[in-house]
Amino acid sequence: MSYQKSKFHHPRLPVNDLGLTYRDYEGALSTLCAGCGHDAITSAIVQACFELSLPPHQVAKMSGIGCSSKAPNYFLNKAHGFNSVHGRMPSVTTGANLANRDLTYLAMSGDGDSASIGLGQFAHVVRRQLDMLYIVANNGVYGLTKGQLAATADKGVTNKTGELSLFTDIDLCVMALQLGATFVARSFSGDKKQLVPLIKAAISHQGFAFLDIVSPCVTFNNHASSTRSYDYVHEHITTAAVTDFIPVKKEITSDCQAGVCEDVCLHDGSLMRIHKLQADYSTNNAMKAINDIENHKQKGEILTGLFYLDPNGDSFHEINNSSDTPLNKLNQDVLCPGNRVLSSINDSFR
């Protein structure tokens, strides 16, 4: 077993604006099963952060419990990180974001962590519009406890041991759309061409960004009757639109042809360029997105891509009118102004 990846890298590796190569965004060597989709997500996150030239120390990696929640250890080892309690990552992230709104919050969760034990936490963090990227690595099974069916497994499928999925699956994208998320997308760990631009856009998006990533469990859910196996997903994946992410600094070289292509400007000035593959595709209709997802599911297809984007939606801090200066940068006098202010607050209730 190799516990080490060589520090040698390709001599002609490109560097980003910070002079870093993508290798500088890596973490520890993964201990997940060989072929785990989560490792591909890790690699896509590394690539996205490299391409965005994010300073690693200004990122906080948040996670709960599960295979997916181990993954943050495998990327951005120079970033901050918090591996929290099962299903409670949203609360911890809310607290962290309150204390320091200047960091980029990159959260990684799984179907168990978000759709079972943490479903309540998930619902409320969407409602809160917390400025974060919430990734769910969705494989439809509890891999860490040997492959029981998860709440996101399609009704009627069986797990590796033949256990039938009796209940309706929870679609986290549909939930996020219902609860007002301003960036909702689904992708596949095996499609980095789609995944990397989506992660970049989701990080650049101000507000709550949700990204559900079908990530096959190679050990417990890659069998013939699975709807989350590599082969099944490769065969049943469908995309309504191809999205490119164009960062602020990059010159836009080609025209966007009306009807086929649409540019959406994100809060920071970067662009999402959307090449429509289906004529009726739109980014600004959450209800239609829910319909599309369900329609494709009924046909046995997995719809991927950007479902909904509202670049101007309010985020948590705007809704709460919170301080522009992160709380951790305010000094004691401002944070705790003393008796005089307390009395005036108390007086206002009298």
Binding site: S2, S6, F8, C36, D39, K193, V218
Partner: protein, 596 residues
């Protein structure tokens, strides 16, 4: 873009750059692994089979393997392959029991070898164990050829040479030392089944320029002078010596002159310092011993003052290059007189075949080189074969050895009434999985990040005092093991099976060198290489290195692996959930005539 043919060894051999670059295709990573396991005798025998003179070559090989070493593409310097070969030779146990048994019953075929240099000795090594009676004719008193006469003992101790020659001579070779063949026509009468000519390139070139005849008492051809030193006919050098030329012979001349008492030794060469033909390490060692090397100087005259020899007059030149990189020397008009007592001319050497009659069937080309079949080394007279410098002009020891092996195969076929070309045996190869467990390999797959180790040497001030004391000390065991671990095991190949790949991308995610690519091929552009290369993780590929291209996978994508900087760390195969990648060791049975 063509799929790589993985049914033959060609692609895989090219990946083992060192082995591919070695004319004798020595399995370099294999013997370095054995050194890392302290199995020095085994490492020596692997070498002995391919290159016959591991102890000699571990010191004085031209090392085509080292510039080829993949390590120099991922960090500064290649593995010290040549030095490790010497380690195998230094630390081996007695190898006599490993040597082939010589059949008592001979096969009735007699072969004459002319010259006892590396090429002929290799032919003897290959043919005697097969039952041939081999007769060697050598004009010098001892075997070894240029290894003895042209390489000074401070680089190659006589004991090392004698030992490795003795392994072959002890097999039972009829030797005629001090016997120069003066007529091939006569030898052809002597009822040999085949004759091998390995007479080297014994004619050193003179430099014809004004003053040559008058100054001739003060001018010597470098290789002749070195030979005289080697056979103790020359035992001193005058105070001031000028060496003309910039190759390894020039380096040997200047360093030898210094040891024979010359205090001012200057090497002058027409080219720039960087363009000198000498190996970089030879130049460094010469400079370290206090030799002055003056580049960009063309000799124009041997200068006499009356009857007295003064020295050599040079013109200073500069090298200019055209677009094709062709060099022309441009005069600067400046001249320089270097006063000296002896001039050693080391500007090249040629083959000499005055003893081969031109009417006996051996055809020569316009450069007076024999016309040979490049592969079989057979001349136009079917029972006469050539090898080493005699075949194609001056090369090096390892090329002579490689020629010897090829000629031995040809002679063996010829003596059995077969065609040396058509009936030549196929090169056998095998790819064997190195998997020992789920994440366990039979080789050390971890990558050492150590830098190249320098070989220890005796103090330079002591070095120049003794003609026969070897300058380099060789690696001690600690350095040897550290250096051996730098080898990237390039002979353990990443072999891909597209049928079992599920396209999970685990391999291309883990690869530390960004070698692996899964590429979507646009419709109708399968043959458009530039379109496909544009999609690689690192687009700038090394044109010298081939890509491993798979047939289409289930999704229609293709796998392209850029072999250029692969570390052979095995992570791709460890991460593959379906065993579509495997680490397989290539073995090549490339020296067909030798003992199996």
């Amino acid at each position: 873009m063509k799929n790589t043919d993985t049914s033959s060894y060609q692609h895989f051999l090219k990946v083992v750059d060192c082995q591919h670059a070695c004319p004798a295709h020595t399995p370099v990573p294999e013997y370095i692994r054995l050194i890392a396991e302290k199995r020095y005798t085994d490492a020596y025998m692997i070498n002995w089979q391919s290159n016959v003179f591991p102890g000699v070559l571990g010191r004085v090989c031209d090392r085509p393997c080292e510039p080829a070493c993949r390590r120099s593409r991922v960090e500064d310097k290649p593995v010290a392959i040549c030095r490790l070969k010497r380690v195998a030779s230094d630390y081996k146990a007695d190898i006599h029991s490993y040597l082939p048994t010589i059949p008592q019953q001979k096969n009735g075929k007699r072969v004459a070898l002319i010259g006892a240099g590396p090429a002929s000795m290799t032919v003897a090594r290959d043919l005697v164990p097969l039952g041939y009676e081999v007769v060697i004719y050598e004009r010098d008193a001892l075997a070894g050829g240029m290894m003895r006469s042209q390489i000074p003992a401070f680089r190659l101790p006589e004991t090392v040479l004698d030992e490795e020659l003795s392994y072959i001579l002890q097999m039972g070779v009829e030797c005629h030392f001090g016997e120069e063949i003066s007529s091939l026509a006569n030898l052809l009468q002597a009822k040999f089944d085949a004759i091998f000519i390995g007479t080297g390139a014994p004619a050193g070139r003179w430099l014809e320029m004004p003053g040559h005849d008058l100054a001739s008492a003060h001018i010597e051809v470098g290789i002749n002078w070195l030979s005289n030193v080697s056979f103790k006919h020359t035992e001193a050098a005058p105070k001031r010596v000028v060496v003309l030329g910039g190759g390894n012979t020039a380096m040997d001349c200047c360093r030898t002159a210094k040891r024979l008492g010359a205090s001012e030794v200057t090497v002058l060469v027409r080219s720039s310092f960087d363009d000198m033909k000498a190996s970089p390490w030879e130049k460094e060692d010469a400079k370290a011993e206090g030799i002055i090397i003056k580049s960009d100087h063309t000799p124009i005259e041997y200068v006499m003052s009356g009857d007295k020899f003064v020295g050599v007059l040079f013109e200073k030149v500069s090298s200019s290059y055209d677009e094709k990189g062709k060099r022309t020397l441009v005069s600067t008009g400046e001249t320089l007189l270097v006063e000296c007592d002896l001039v050693l001319v080391a500007v090249g050497q040629d083959t000499a075949f005055p003893w081969i009659e031109r009417d006996i069937g051996v055809k020569f080309n316009k450069w007076q080189q024999p016309e040979l079949n490049q592969q079989t080394l057979q001349s136009t007279l079917e029972q006469v074969f050539f090898g080493g410098d005699a075949a194609f002009g001056p090369e090096n020891i390892i090329t002579a050895v490689a020629n010897g092996h090829q000629a031995a195969i040809s002679i063996d076929l010829f003596c059995h009434g077969k065609s040396a070309e058509q009936d030549r045996p196929e090169v056998g190869f095998n790819l064997i999985s190195q998997k020992m467990g789920i994440h366990d390999w039979s080789y050390h797959s971890g990558i050492s990040h150590e830098e190249r180790n320098l070989v220890p040497h005796i103090p330079w001030e002591d070095a120049v005092k003794s003609l026969n004391t070897e300058v380099e000390l060789g690696f001690d065991e600690k350095l040897a093991l550290e250096e051996a671990h730098r080898c990237l095991n390039c002979d353990v190949h990443t072999v891909f099976n597209e049928k079992t790949c599920i396209e999970c991308s685990a391999c291309d995610d883990i690869c530390p060198m960004d070698c692996i690519n899964f590429v979507e091929v646009d419709e109708g552009l399968v043959n458009d290489a530039s379109n496909i290369l544009e999609k690689l993780r690192v687009k700038e590929v090394n044109p010298e290195q081939e890509l491993l291209v798979s047939p289409a996978l289930k999704t229609g994508h293709i796998m392209i692996k850029d072999e250029d900087v692969c570390l052979h760390c095995g992570l791709c195969a460890e991460r593959c959930p379906t065993g579509a990648w495997d680490m397989k060791k290539l073995t090549i049975d490339n020296i067909g005539a030798t003992i199996k």
